[in-house]
Amino acid sequence: MEIVLSAAIGILAASGAWLLMRPRTFQVIVGLCLLSYAVNLFIFSMGRLTVGAPAIMPKGGFVNPDAFADPIPQALVLTAIVISFATTALFLVVMIVARGFSGTDHVDGQERNP
């Protein structure tokens, strides 16, 4: 499992990073989305992988922490998902407004002279 997940994180990160360095705004926004998947999974994986033991506690009694998934990375990632949604929305609006102003969707606001 660890091999697959780390490879997946790497592919998502590589695709995201490649798009991040592209000249068109839409490429960058898709790149940021992919990168945020990679980063969320990365943070999540820091709690190690647990199958079939979500952090839902019994009502009272002794709790053995080793029997459950680590809740901290999950709480962090939950926040990260919502915030990355907000930044994506903001970037999208900046992107279309900039396109309206500059007439181009190049990240520099002007076409590069070939």
Binding site: L12, T25, F42, P65, I81, I83
Partner: protein, 963 residues
């Protein structure tokens, strides 16, 4: 009143006076002068009251606790040395205030002048009496800052502005070095208390950091006291009004540096490095200043260089550091302040009455203003060191130290010769001052006809010259005891009484004085005419200016340097910057990986599940496809992006993170819709972008591909390394154990978000709301590109009508789903505390419910039936969340403390009722409102586009406000 309170009053009264003065009306010339005068007089009275205990050798202390944990207290201490210095500051200050009342023109804003003078006095006194070295630096920098305001008092003149800026840059930079020195001293001595630092001189001198500390300390002192090569700011500061020059550049500010040298000589002095650096620089400055002063044509310029020269003399004495040298240094500090202040004032009177300060134009003023002339001649004689005047005495003591004190170095052996040589020049420039201005033929081309000034403009000069005479004739009776008191407080109580007298017999120092006077007179008489015709500086040397170097550095630092940096790393192109960021990230990650694999033992990994592998094969294909298609096929790329998101969501579900799975799924839906709405406003990509297949573009892409692959591989490697090491116990275990007992919920992730770490969540929803409002605000003035206005092609096609009919059934289903989705949202919300769900997911679900209605029909249809006020949702959400937090104050708990219990409801059964649920309700409201606001704001753009850029748009700008 007791003594400590008097010290506080002494320090803070001038600041209070400055505040009052700054609020007085601009025309209140006499009123502000009275205010300053009274404050200074009050200070002098306090000093008189404190003289008794100080003369007994006591150190008066007062502490105001400020940041005791950092060793930072407002300690004030008054000993003999500080007493003498403060008296000097206040005494000269009082005379300067009186002088300024008649010197400044009616148009000059008097309140600003007096406010600055008072504040400067306060800062100076604070510096002199500070018992904590950090506070000393604070007051030190304060004097630099206020002197900037004072030098730039006539801020309309470019010379004043430049002079002020130069003074500030040089002295404040020195202050920074001084701060470094004080921090080092504090570390070495283990305290920032001045007395204890002064007492631990042996520890400091033996410390390996002594050299660094000394260098920083000396840069601070030398910049302030205008020692070579930092002297150049002082002549440029002469653009200040004469009262300011008389106050700052004779008596107070420039003396701060030598004060520091004398004060710290017990702690830092006594070494060979100290002697060579301090005495060496002092002697160089002494000679240099005296030589240049002879060649200046400007009266104030001559006095400025003379000041530099005298400061050099005091510095040299501080470097010698013997008992006699310290007495001489303190004596000369006082004497120089007195005669130089009177000379500056006399120069001001001449300038005021004749309209020029150029010595080549001034001549024969003795006939026109005999009283001022006599005063200036006596003061200049004191400057030259003529017997029976105060300047002679301290100079004589300096000569005596130069001759008698020995440590066997070459510098020590050459001291008498340099001293005599400098003195020759000193006599020559004093002579030039007297001879050219007051004697010779009557002046011909002066802007004004000179006459005696008003009485009160002359009174301060008269008093100062009187002091020169009295001290010069009866030193033992007047200044002697005070001098010994001051020196004793520096050198220690066991210093023998040092008798100051006029006549020491025919000895070497007297001989040196006589030689200097004779040679000085000969020098001036020989070269008088050539000096007047020559440039403003000695032959050959005048072109070498430290100022040029300063200007070059400033130019590089403030103009050419930044421009070069902008050219190199300029923000006009995004791609290279992002590339740099990615490369830096790779570097940082590689650095992290270096040697970290050995930190924990290998745990091994579980075998991959075949389903998981297949799932991620699809996911990876989606990710790569999205990256590949994002340029020309945006829609396809968006769909593929959604695919990668879904696989991520499934991964969360698979690996025991149901909350994440739910949230990811819902956010995925909203993000996709959002991006779809945005696609409409991007340019069509039907033809290939020009130059996309050129070699340069291909190379760029290949390089980026390599970078991206390396980046991905590094992230992968880190993730794999961490995952295959055993998990140590974390704070997560505590959350798992206590979620139910403390937070009253079984879903630990939700309990963390709304209870344990609720403050983070509160910040997060605030951010979300801010983003939503920003999106809304940005779109209010949105202007789409021309080609994107009008109906989209797809809607204009003949088949568009069929499309609507095709969509009929899904749209009906979507409308029917509305109540169902609302119920789902409520369900997610209610179960949140115990099972996967919660305010976030419920909020996004509700937003999707509304969104579906927009998708199913169209904007107008929805809005005629349904009123959503997203701003209210957000506002109430934040209010509820914040209110829940504040409610815990009522019960005496910190912000956002939760309380939980179960309530039995009829029919439904046991329901968890925690205050966290109310907080979650706030989260729910804010998330719903923010999401809907963003979606609707973007969706609404399609309504506006039909009339955007219509011809009447320009003439009716109010329309866009209404939209």
């Amino acid at each position: 009143m007791n003594e400590p309170n008097l010290i506080l009053l002494l320090v803070f009264l001038p600041f209070a006076g400055a505040l009052v003065a700054s609020t007085m009306p601009a025309g209140a010339r006499t009123g502000t002068a009275w205010l300053s005068g009274l404050v200074m007089t009050a200070g002098l009275l306090i000093l008189a009251a404190l003289h008794g205990p100080v003369a007994e050798g006591r150190v008066l202390l007062e502490t105001l606790s400020w940041v005791p944990s950092l060793g930072l207290d407002l300690d004030f201490r008054l000993d003999g040395f500080a007493w003498l210095f403060v008296t000097l500051v206040l005494g000269i200050g009082l005379l300067v205030v009186l002088y300024a009342r008649y010197y400044l023109a009616k148009s000059d804003p008097a309140p600003r002048f007096h406010a600055c003078i008072l504040a400067f006095t306060g800062a100076m006194i604070g510096m002199l009496t500070s018992g904590n070295v950090i506070m000393l630096v604070v007051f030190w920098e304060l004097t630099s800052l206020i002197s900037f305001l004072l030098i730039g008092y006539w801020h309309r003149s470019p010379a004043a502005r430049d002079g002020a800026r130069m003074a500030l840059v040089v002295t404040a930079a020195g202050g920074l070095c001084l701060l470094g020195a004080m921090l080092l001293l504090g570390q070495i001595a283990g305290t920032y208390d001045l007395d204890r630092i002064l007492a631990s001189g042996d520890v400091i001198r033996a410390h390996p950091l002594y050299g660094t500390t000394l260098a920083l300390f000396l840069v601070g002192a030398f910049t302030k006291s205008a020692q070579v090569p930092f002297h150049f700011w002082l002549p440029n500061a002469m653009a200040a009004p004469t009262p300011v020059s008389a106050f700052l550049h004779s008596a107070t500010m420039v003396k701060a540096g030598v004060f520091l040298l004398v004060r710290f000589s017990p702690a830092l002095g006594g070494t060979e490095a100290w002697f060579f650096a301090v005495t060496g620089v002092g002697m160089a400055t002494l000679l240099f200043g005296a030589v240049i002063a002879l060649f200046r044509h400007d009266l104030k310029g001559l006095l400025a260089y003379s000041t530099i020269s005298h400061l050099g003399l005091i510095t040299a004495l501080a470097g010698i550091g013997s008992n006699g040298a310290i007495v001489a240094a303190i004596f000369h500090i006082a004497n120089h302040a007195v005669f130089k202040a009177s000379l500056f004032m006399a120069a001001g009177i001449i300038d005021h009455e004749s309209g020029t300060r150029d010595m080549r134009r001034l001549s024969g003023l003795m006939r026109l203003m005999p009283a001022t002339g006599s005063l200036a001649i006596v003061a200049a004689a004191a400057m030259a060191g003529v017997p029976l005047l105060n300047g002679f005495l301290s100079k004589e003591m300096f000569f005596a130290e130069a001759v008698e004190w020995h440590n066997g170095t070459w510098l020590d052996n050459s001291l008498p010769y340099i001293a005599t040589l400098a003195s020759v020049f000193s006599v020559a420039y004093s002579l030039r001052f007297i001879a050219t201005v007051f004697f010779g033929p009557p002046p011909t081309d002066l802007p004004k006809t000179p006459q005696e000034p008003v009485r009160w403009l002359r009174r301060p000069v008269e008093l100062l010259v009187l002091i020169c005479l009295v001290v010069g004739i009866m030193p033992g009776l007047t200044l002697g005891p005070t001098l010994n008191m001051a020196a004793r407080s520096v050198m220690g109580a066991d210093m023998p009484y040092y008798s100051v007298s006029v006549w020491h017999g025919l000895n070497t120092p007297l001989l040196m004085s006589l030689i200097a006077m004779v040679l000085g007179a000969v020098l001036y008489l020989t070269f008088a005419s050539r000096i007047a015709q020559g440039p403003e500086g000695p032959p050959l040397v005048y072109k070498l200016q430290a100022q040029r170097f300063y200007e070059r550095v400033m130019l590089a630092a403030t103009w050419t340097g930044p421009r070069r940096l902008v050219r190199l790393f300029g923000p006009d192109r995004l791609q290279p910057q992002l590339r740099l960021i990615v490369l830096l990230a790779i570097g940082a990650m590689a650095y992290m990986m270096w040697g970290s694999t050995g930190l924990a033992p290998w745990r091994g990994f579980t075998d991959p599940n075949i389903g998981f592998l297949l799932m991620w094969t699809v996911g990876a294909a989606c990710a790569v496809g999205a990256a590949w298609q994002a340029k020309y096929h945006r829609f396809a790329s968006l769909v593929l992006l959604g695919g990668a998101g879904l696989v991520t969501c499934l991964t969360f579900a698979w690996l025991s993170a149901p909350d994440l799975a739910v949230t990811q799924l819902l956010v995925e839906v909203v993000t996709t819709v959002l991006l779809l709405l945005g696609l409409r406003w991007l340019p069509k990509r039907l033809v290939e972008i020009q130059g996309d297949r050129l070699r340069a573009a291909r190379i760029r892409r290949s390089v980026d591909l390599v970078i991206a692959v390396v980046f991905g591989a590094t992230v992968s490697a880190i993730a794999f390394t961490v995952m295959t090491r055993p998990q140590l116990s974390t704070v997560g275990d505590w959350f798992l154990r206590n979620a139910y007992s403390e937070g009253g919920g079984t879903n630990v992730v939700n309990v963390i978000l709304v209870d344990f770490r609720a403050f983070d969540t509160f910040g997060e929803i605030t951010v979300l709301v801010i983003v939503a409002l920003t999106v809304f605000a940005l779109l209010r003035r949105f202007r789409p590109a021309v080609e994107s206005t009008g109906r989209p092609e797809q809607q204009a096609l003949p088949t568009a009508r069929d499309l609507q009919e095709d969509m009929l059934i899904p749209s009906v289903i979507m409308q029917w789903m509305f109540p169902v989705t609302i119920v789902l949202s409520a369900y997610l919300f209610m179960r949140g505390h115990d099972l996967p769900g919660g305010g976030f997911s419920a909020g996004v679900t509700l937003a999707i419910a509304f969104l579906l209605q927009y998708l199913a029909t169209h904007v107008r249809w929805v809005e005629s039936r349904l009123t959503v006020l997203p701003t209210r949702w957000m506002g109430f959400g934040l209010l509820i969340a914040g209110g829940t937090g504040m409610a815990s104050w009522v019960f005496g708990y910190p912000f956002l403390t939760g309380h939980a219990q179960y309530v039995d409801l009829p029919l439904i059964g046991e329901v968890p009722a925690a205050t966290a649920m109310i907080f979650d309700l706030g989260v729910f409201g804010a998330v719903t409102g923010a999401t809907i606001l963003m979606l609707i704001a973007i969706a609404h753009q399609s309504l506006r586009s039909t009339r955007v850029r219509a011809p009447d748009e320009v003439s009716r700008p109010d329309r866009e406000e209404a939209a």
